[in-house]
Amino acid sequence: MIMIREILALIAFSAAVIFGTAGLAGLFRFSDPYTRLQAGSLCGTTAVLSIFIGALLLSPTAAVSARIVIITLFFLISSPTGSHIVARFAWNIGVPHHDPKQKRTPVSRKKDTPS
């Protein structure tokens, strides 16, 4: 029983490592703030969630696992709020999104700023 739990936790931690590495790579590969935030959400949501699942599998008592569940719930509320605030600010000041069809991305979405 302990063995199965440890193997499942190992799988969850490996998934966290893979997703975290991919998110970090995407952070440097992509070009504009929105797309980078998308890659960051891979790092900040899925990797952390996998670590929480692994910790839940390894938790010794019910009290510890209940606390992990509460931490996961608060994380699920707070993490997207943070990335939403950054994306909303970028959208409000007029950062254009990356378009693969255009050769050169303009500096601003708004008309009055020089491009």
């Binding site: 995407g26 929105y34 998308q38 997207p80 939403h84 959208w91 378009d99």
Partner: protein
């Protein structure tokens, strides 16, 4: 006037009970001092903030009281969706083939809490970020856009999440 006062009392009681539940969850002790301190604190905070916690125009209990069974189901469904779109996102990071676009669409859910949860779920799913939420109008940055039709885009982005949210809140 009378209806408004009754509605205010209901909102105050619900706020106080939720505060006290969170207090019990955090302290995890049933000593007399802890219970009394928690009760006094939650009543005081509820008296100050019940108007912010539940807005006056949310005039239906189903607008902010969740259906617990469907809330639990939604929790696990959300896990599945996060991992599903994470794998798609992983492939996109490796190959670099993305087609980002800003899409606008409207949602059918009616209460503020449900709209907030829907927007948060869209942001939580890798591949979509909610940029703005005005009443029922969502602005979403979508990484794997395959259509110019905004209603079809909305169906792809929120179509599988929305029925679950509609079952939790009205």
């Amino acid at each position: 006037m009378r209806a408004e006062r009754i509605w205010g009392a209901i909102r105050f009681v619900i706020t106080a009970v939720s505060m006290f539940a969170v207090w019990l969850l955090f302290t995890a002790s049933f000593g007399t001092f802890s219970l009394v301190a928690g009760a006094i604190g939650s009543l005081l905070i509820a008296a100050l903030t019940y108007d912010v916690f539940i807005a006056k125009h949310q005039a239906n209990l189903r607008f902010f009281l969740p259906n617990p069974l469907h809330l639990l189901i939604y929790f696990f469904v959300m896990f599945f969706f996060i991992y599903q779109s994470s794998v798609v996102m992983l492939a996109a990071v490796i190959t670099g083939r993305v087609n980002p676009r800003i899409v606008h669409f409207r949602t059918r859910v009616r209460s503020d809490v449900a709209r907030m949860v829907l927007a948060n779920s869209i942001t939580l799913t890798p591949g979509t970020i909610t940029l703005d939420l005005n009443d029922d109008h969502l602005t979403v940055h979508w990484l794997f856009c395959d259509t110019h039709h905004m209603k079809a885009a909305g169906e792809t982005v929120k179509g599988r999440l929305e029925p679950y949210v509609q079952r939790i809140w009205l």
